[in-house]
């Protein structure tokens, strides 16, 4: 915050930490962004720190309070100004108000929970895709042949999936790897569309209940979601969302046809 970022030298680690928190001044931000485009080690540090930040946020979910606790706490917020003896009709009015308040709280809590879950899922999907882009690490199975990639997952996942024989135009399967999404084992499939990298994550629907309100665009990347009876499919890329949607749709369609 008060320190300057040397343009021709590595930024202090503390500055990189502030960078991922969006706490640098515009000039510091510009200097570090410029440095990161040229410095692979610092870019790796930033990627790692960003991953750590995301995973720390996810760790907090284990202490989410149960609904009954939230209900008890919310009831404390409802103004309790009625000190006069309640008449029959006023009790009814109070009771209906209380029910309405509880319902409103329940709905607010659900909406809030959904938004939080959606944001966390989006962050996790972007993490996975950025890790693929940034690490340069090869996936465990490298092949453009679906008859090679699909069998590789057998016995490694608690579910199976199909790969389409025909992919959308200029779309190529590159390989696959095992990953985790929201703590559940998942298949990571790598494609390219034109020259754009695409990450597709398939996971069991039972372990990942549907979440509404997930943003379709985040940080310049598009996210497309498709579901089948047993699977949830997420596709992430910086490609045109329509083309990304075509790939997700092709994967969705093939699950029920084969």
């Amino acid at each position: 915050m008060t320190q300057t970022t040397p343009v021709n030298d590595h930024p202090e680690p503390i500055q990189l930490s502030a960078f991922i928190d969006g706490e640098l001044s515009p000039s510091e931000l510009q200097a570090i962004q410029r440095h990161l485009t040229e410095c692979h080690p610092c870019a790796l540090q930033v990627l790692s720190a960003a991953q750590l930040k995301a995973v720390t946020a996810r760790a907090s979910q284990r202490f989410l309070p149960p609904p009954e606790v939230l209900k008890r706490l919310a009831s404390q917020l409802v103004p309790q100004e009625t000190t006069k003896p309640a008449r029959a009709w006023s009790f009814g009015h109070w009771a209906w108000s209380a029910i309405a308040a509880v319902l409103a709280i329940a709905v607010s809590s659900i909406v809030w929970w959904q938004m939080r879950q959606a944001n966390n899922l989006t962050a996790e999907l972007l993490d996975q895709h950025l890790a693929v882009l940034s690490s340069g690490a090869s996936p465990e199975i490298i092949s453009t042949d679906r008859h090679t990639v699909k069998p590789w997952f057998q016995g490694k996942l608690p579910f199976s999936f199909n790969l389409p024989e025909t992919l959308p135009p200029d779309t190529t399967l590159r390989g696959g790897d095992l990953t985790f999404l929201r703590g559940q084992p998942a298949a990571l499939l790598l494609f390219t569309i034109h020259r754009h990298e695409v990450s597709v994550i398939l996971t069991q629907r039972s372990g990942n209940p549907a979440i509404t309100g997930m943003p379709v665009n985040s940080s310049g990347f598009s996210i497309k979601e498709a579901s089948t009876r047993n699977l949830r499919i997420f596709a992430v890329s910086d490609i045109d969302p329509t083309e990304l949607g075509s790939l997700a749709a092709a994967l969705q369609a093939v699950q029920s046809t084969q």
Partner: protein, 177 residues
Amino acid sequence: MPRRTNSSEFEQLALPLLSSLSSHAFWLSRNDTEAEDLVQETLSKALRAFDSFQAGTNFKAWIFRILRNTFLTSRTAIANARTVFLEDDPGLSDITDAGPNPEEHILRLENQAAVNDALDRLHPQLREILLLCDVEELKYKDIAIVLDVPIGTVMSRIFRARRGLHQELQQHFGESL
């Protein structure tokens, strides 16, 4: 009547934060019952003091500060007060390096349980500031209000927390890094 308006406004501001307050209270106290009591007491104190809240300032930072002060006067906090915390070095001389090699920076973070364990092992004050930043998404200036420390201390403490967490995870993953 103004009291009713305040109460209603307080409800609107506090209701969306109940989950965050409860979660943070649990991280502080590590006990379900105590966490709920802490939040109840916090809400009660905050409502009574709501007149002192300045409109336009960050309500979340304001009420989290009340939560923290409430915790600090609790039995658990007093019992834990013996834990020594090495306060931030203003010169930051020890944080410029000692980190891993760049290639070692990429952690295998798919193991959420390992991350949870590493967070548990982190010093409570470092864990607290990391949660305020990464979970509650408070800005440094608001964290400074909650913890009542200078903003430079916030910056260095967050960095130390992340470095500590990274080191804990490195120990856990060992050669698999």
